[in-house]
Symmetry: C2
Subunit: 385 residues, 2 copies
């Protein structure tokens, strides 16, 4: 029988059930419960990063002193500091970010939620964010919503769990309820919207010239002599889609052109929708003479599809699109676009968020509009032929 851990006696030991799969014993003499612990398994070879305590032990000082040395505190002797730094360097000490953050109550990390990192626009934004964040000493944690509202809310929760200091978000195209954002905002989490923003909540925002850009593009078409301008819009509830549509309408209005509801087609940005829209328009009794796509990718698709059908661009059909990529300039005919600057959008959003984080209390949300640029290429230059 096993002796009591306290008195060492063995006579008055009785079994007292099982706890967590281990035999539990009871010593009547000591009135003490205890369990038999199997020998520790030394085989678990977790990578051991050197800690502040390791350094402290190595030179015989307290952990607080090591901390002071590493943090450039003034309350430390120069000799001990250099010695500590020497050892720290020798042992390749890396501070444990988790412990630091837990203690300080801040992670110096900002969370980013985007629909899809594979879209060049968002990749550009992310690059801009990372540049500014890194320079300011912040880390970046990126999540993709894959255009799903549910995934987006999960992303928010994950980032909150990670205790990010702030959130940068561009909503999925199916996000029309913003409770997940409002909740965190109410809790005091700094949040900045960019591109796909949301007007329901009072956050700082970085957006493009959605209205002016659309207006410019459509005006350009009109000045080129196009009169029957169709527009491939996005999901009906998506704010940027609405705004760009408003720009389109405003341009028509300015030039006293009638607004034909049949020329507006709401899509979800997919290629199939582009083809469907084209089919629809080409079967209309009165066909459009030009197309404005709210998303640059659809513009490319339109060109490909029109070429397939042997419809001449820009003569029979003009094309312009919002957004720009290298491909737009290389395709034949090259695509007239309203060029945007994703990297700059990213930079501005990150900068705003960091400002919000630092000036938590005094920060007043505002909206910044990043200027775009009309780039006229062949797909809309009717006079070109």
């Amino acid at each position: 029988m096993t002796p009591c851990v306290k008195c060492g006696g063995v006579e008055n030991i009785v079994r007292a059930g099982f706890v967590r799969g281990k035999q539990r014993l009871y010593c009547k003499d000591c009135n003490l419960y205890f369990t038999i612990t199997p020998e520790n398994h030394p085989s678990s070879k977790k990578p051991h990063q050197t800690t502040i305590v390791d350094i402290a032990r190595a030179i015989g000082v307290s952990p607080s002193t090591v901390s002071r040395a590493l943090n450039n505190s003034t309350e430390i002797n120069d000799n001990t500091r250099t010695e500590i730094l020497r050892i720290a360097n020798e042992l390749d000490y890396r501070p444990n970010f988790l412990a630091q953050s837990l203690n300080r109550g801040e992670t110096h990390t900002i969370g980013v939620i985007i629909p899809d990192i594979q879209r060049p626009f968002f990749a550009g934004v992310v690059a801009g964010i990372q540049k500014v964040a890194t320079e300011a000493g912040y880390r970046v944690m990126i999540c993709q919503s894959n255009e799903s509202h549910h995934t987006e809310t999960l992303n928010v929760q994950a980032l909150v769990t990670s205790r990010v200091d702030g959130l940068l978000i561009s909503h999925s195209k199916e996000t029309f309820s913003f409770e997940h954002v409002k909740l965190q905002l109410k809790k005091g989490l700094p949040i900045v919207h960019f591109d796909r923003v949301c007007n329901e909540v009072d956050t700082a925002k970085v957006i493009q010239e959605d209205f002016a850009g659309s207006f410019t593009l459509v005006e350009h078409l009109i000045l080129q002599g196009y009169r029957k301008i169709a527009v491939l819009a996005g999901p009906q509830d998506l704010l940027i889609s609405q705004t760009r549509l408003d720009g389109y309408k405003a341009a028509l209005e300015k030039y006293d052109l009638p607004m034909n509801e049949q020329f507006i087609y709401y899509s979800n940005f997919s290629q199939e929708d582009s083809v469907k829209a084209l089919d629809y328009w080409l079967n209309l009794p009165e066909k459009p003479d030009s197309i404005f796509t709210i998303h640059y990718g659809n513009g490319i698709e339109m060109i490909m599809e029109l070429k397939n059908r042997n419809i001449q661009i820009p003569n029979e059909m003009g094309i312009v699109a919002f957004g720009d990529e290298l491909i737009a300039s290389l395709i034949e005919p090259s695509l007239t676009v309203f060029h945007q600057f994703p990297f700059i959008i990213g930079e501005n959003a990150a900068s705003m968020l960091i400002e919000n984080i630092i000036n938590q209390g005094s920060f007043v949300p505002h909206t910044k509009v990043i200027k775009g640029e009309l780039i006229i290429r062949k797909s809309s230059q009717r006079s070109y032929t």
Copy 2:
């Protein structure tokens, strides 16, 4: 923004990292570093996330009990559990990831280091990584080296500081010393290489068919009747560049074609280098009749440049490239490529790393080759005319 403590100016202030948890600033005018002192911003209203202790107090139990309830422990009464869960939900409790990780000694986070997120290949890889990681319950932290060796080592240190459970890395093109990786590997950190791998260290790797792909492309050119094949390689020390070059040489050898050293041009993948290479080749007494670029982007550039110079593709000059993007199929003439699957590469790399993390001790590093695919388009189809 905060004014400079010396000159009071506000225009030339930039953020310059963190010191002791305080934002560090830099005044370009005064060439002066300084930090914001807390009294400047007294209104910091730290967001208070509800903790386990809050819940415990709310129902009058101990924190341990709450923890048990949240972790599906069996050692808890069903009634108390449901009550605790109810309150937790009511208070929108989110576990503190930092505290959890610190306690458990693992972060369930994997670090990713890539040269540039804006390159579609890497964006695809990242998407693949995130898919697998998310499904396995891991978070992903992405760093960009911007093709700089120094930044890359800083990235490694930052991720180690964050105590990631493992590392996924594709080296910068100027990384020829791998001490930063070796050091962490020796400390026991699981590391998996992908694409731009390194043979000096014994890690698991996920690579493309660099040799076979190049061989296939060059063989295709030969079968099309091209005989004087130039190759635009990458940096001379970059492993994937060497391997692809080897594939090129092997193909020439198989068909008894002479290897002309003048036809090999080492570049750093930049557009200027593409132009320089072309200039060089076109001024040779014996010009090449076709070009194989190791990087697909350079292939696009070659096509544009050859069109500028009115050189007929594929008749006067054939072009093939390693890698693929949408643009390669849309450009005129479309570009023959060896298509790769970045998403799958990412999936495999993440999968391998997680396996390595879980089976820490027993994992044996191996190399996985992801198959690519020859896609023949117009830029190399001489018989086409």
